[in-house]
């Protein structure tokens, strides 16, 4: 399906959006009402209050904050916390922090969403086969989802939209049938019931933690914006919200009319299904939860890929299972998430236990998005400070209330907090270390070294190292070059080449930029290529460089025929060799304790990531790797004194 179909408002676009965006929020009816009622006595105050809170949460938090407001903060059509960060990072130095925390919380959420969704669906099978072993089935399904990631979703992705359409129609039909039995349940649309619940229901405030589960998918909705386009998301949300509300209110109507005093472990979601439809309903629910899990896993891959591009995360292997833009597979994250999900299933066993920990991370992510949104509205949209303060205060107070209500989950959710902390620490270490390292890159004026470069190239007394010798440079100014590159060319085994290439890759704030310029600094001797690559594009330098060379050959700007006499007559192509300079932490440095510790952690983490040559896609090219010590302070003044040899000493010997 073409990109334009996804992004423009169309029936096909809306259908695709249902499959990609609304899986998470769309499967919430499986557990929200069950979590709100829990083991409490079923009363009108509880049911009406709970429903009213769900309705107003979906309206204020999902519709107003995410669908109306946050979706405006797209970065060339892309959403998500890192896209938002790239839009505002120039305005305050510390904005990386909310971006790290939000991303960490979202990644940790990827560990609990698949287990709770799939478990909720499969537990319905107990109504048909009471002794069915739920945990092994959930483990098999989750393992299947993760094992399937390496193939991408191109083939089955087309089914996601239609399956979710069936799911939402099922939600609406089941809910509507119950509402017709007890239409008075619609009174709960009034905010009066929500306020009454919060004020008068015993410990009502703390039930916000359960109510919040209705909107947990809102953050994921923003992250996946780029796949669908704002208009499609907004139109399909109208449909999705109606079906969700019909189902929630249908469950509420059943709770009131069932005559039960306690739920007793029943799930109102399945109780409103006719018995003859139960198996079909469970199959549809399972399919919907698989799609919801898929969306969350894909979102995690995108998040890590962006983090790598923004230098927030160690370089990890990122694969492209299909040619669909934005579809990624990150093996390390895939199997880490799988291990986390299986751990959650085995530890908590039932979805009701998982509900007790679900939501805490998302409140954190939402608070961080709101913080970044404040800067976006003020500095990018130029909205008056007072108006921004008003909007942000409303959302911060709502989200902070949810956060406080979710704090009681910490007792059980501490391990997720540890995961969030681990992710944030990794991001901070990587980010800070890169800043320290960037500051230690010593540059030299290139113009001073060009004559020597030409002389070296023409010096036949030195054997040729390569016909085309390619260095990567971090110098954004073409007049500069790193001292280490100059040292590598001249001093460490002088490298004679016919043409020296300097390649600079600049990551842009726009997600999908793919541009380059060529500057032939000395004709047929020194050529600099500057790439501008968007933060969502993998910088596969070998592929990009080959494209540049091809275009230059086509334009007759470059002759890549071998310059060796014996080979040139056969019209063979010349050799290209990359030199990658890798830094290591030398013992001879005088970093502060803090910087030294961060750098040690950085080099430790680097062991788990990709090498520079792999990260730039050069592992299949001819690459020389040179290790360079990272020291900043000169060796202390050595008081070494030369003594003249005594004449008699010579004579004696």
């Amino acid at each position: 399906m073409s990109e334009s179909i996804h992004k423009k408002l169309s029936a096909a676009g809306v259908l695709v959006t249902l499959g990609i965006i609304f899986g998470d929020i769309g499967t919430s009816p499986l557990y929200v009402l069950k979590a709100i009622v829990g083991e409490r006595a079923i009363t009108e105050q509880l049911v009406f209050g709970g429903l009213s809170l769900v309705f107003w949460t979906l309206t204020l938090q999902t519709t107003f904050k995410y669908i109306w407001l946050t979706l405006q903060a797209d970065n060339h059509g892309e959403g998500g916390i890192f896209s938002l960060y790239t839009l505002v990072r120039r305005y305050k130095k510390w904005l990386y922090f909310p971006a790290f925390v939000g991303a960490g919380a979202l990644l940790a959420d990827g560990i609990i969403t698949p287990p709770i969704s799939v478990s909720s669906a499969i537990e319905g099978l107990k109504l048909v086969i009471p002794n069915i072993p739920v945990i092994p089935i959930v483990v098999i399904i989750i393992t299947g989802i993760f094992a399937f990631q390496r193939f991408g979703t191109k083939i089955v992705g087309g089914l996601f939209g239609p399956i979710m359409l069936v799911w939402f129609l099922m939600l609406a039909t089941l809910g509507f049938s119950q509402i017709t039995i007890f239409p008075s349940v619609l009174k709960a649309l009034s905010p009066h019931y929500a306020i009454d619940f919060l004020v008068h229901y015993p410990k009502g405030f703390w039930l916000l933690g359960a109510v919040f589960l209705a909107t947990t998918g809102a953050e994921a909705l923003y992250s996946d914006l780029g796949h669908c386009g704002r208009k499609n998301v907004r139109v399909s949300w109208t449909f999705v919200k109606i079906t969700l509300l019909l189902n929630y209110f249908g469950q509420g109507a059943w709770l009131i009319t069932s005559g039960k005093i306690f739920l007793g472990g029943l799930n109102p979601f399945y109780e409103i299904m006719p018995h003859w439809f139960l198996l079909s309903g469970i199959i549809i629910a399972t399919a919907a939860t698989i799609i919801a899990s898929q969306a969350l896993i894909s979102g995690s891959f995108t998040l890590i890929s962006e983090a790598v591009s923004l230098n927030f995360w160690p370089r990890v292997t990122i694969k492209f299972p299909t040619e669909v833009r934005g579809q990624l597979y990150v093996p390390s994250i895939n199997w880490l998430l799988w291990a986390g999900c299986i751990g959650v299933v085995l530890y908590f066993k039932e979805s009701s236990n998982m509900e007790a920990v679900y939501g805490f991370n998302i409140t954190i992510a939402m608070l961080m998005t709101t913080t970044l949104m404040g800067y976006y509205l003020r500095y990018v949209k130029k909205i008056p400070a007072l108006v921004v303060a008003g909007i942000i205060c409303i959302f911060l107070s709502v989200e902070f209330s949810f956060f406080i209500a979710n704090i009681i989950k910490l007792k059980e959710a501490w391990m997720f907090l540890l995961i969030v902390f681990g992710i944030i620490t990794t991001m901070y270490t990587w980010y800070r270390a890169r800043k320290i390292l960037n500051k230690l890159v010593e540059f030299l004026p290139l113009s001073e070294h060009l004559p020597a470069l030409v002389d070296l190239s023409n010096d036949k007394s030195i054997s040729k190292y390569a016909t085309h010798l390619i260095y990567l440079t971090s110098a954004d100014n073409p007049k500069h070059i790193e001292g280490r590159n100059i040292y590598s060319i001249f001093s460490r085994n002088p490298k004679r080449a016919d043409i020296y290439w300097l390649i600079h890759v600049d990551r842009t704030n726009e997600p999908y930029t793919m541009e380059y310029t060529v500057d032939e600094m000395i004709n047929d001797k020194v050529i600099r290529v500057d790439f501008k690559i968007g933060f969502r594009v993998q910088p596969r330098v070998n592929v990009l460089f080959r494209k540049v060379v091809e275009e230059m050959v086509t334009n007759k700007e470059l002759d890549i025929t071998s310059r060796y006499e014996s080979l040139s007559k056969y019209n063979l192509a010349a050799d290209f060799r990359f030199v990658i300079l890798e830094r290591f932490l030398s013992v001879e440095n005088e970093f502060s304790v803090r910087d030294g510790f961060i750098l040690k952690c950085y080099f430790f983490l680097k062991n788990f990531g990709q090498s520079d040559s792999k990260a730039f896609g050069l592992d299949t090219s001819d690459v020389t790797i040179e290790k360079i010590p990272l020291v900043i302070s000169p060796v202390a003044d050595i008081r070494l004194k030369r003594r003249e040899l005594k004449k008699e000493h010579h004579e004696n010997s």
Partner: protein
């Protein structure tokens, strides 16, 4: 020339001409004579000076080799831009 935030000007004047000997006065009144052989860039994004640090080789340390064998950091000293009070070109 005052150098409170004139690192780019120093860079352009120094490397724009023959990169000869300069007299550097530090804020602690130390006077140095020698060459700038390298520099460390600041981050534009965070409004740092164009050059935040300089590699400076005292004229007493010259060994008649224009660019010294790596590691470059084994010669000269690092001067932070903020510690420079004045630079005089000879």
């Amino acid at each position: 020339m005052k150098t409170a935030d004139f690192s780019k000007e120093i860079y352009e004047r120094y490397f724009g001409r023959s990169s000869g000997i300069v007299m550097v006065t530090l804020r602690d009144k130390t006077e140095l004579a020698g060459k700038f052989t390298g520099f460390f860039r600041g981050e534009n994004e965070f409004d740092e000076p164009y050059i935040v640090m300089w590699r400076f080789v005292d004229e007493k340390e010259f060994v008649e080799i224009d660019f010294l064998p790596y590691p470059n950091q084994e010669v000269g000293c690092i001067i932070k831009q903020k510690n420079i009070l004045a630079v005089r070109f000879k």
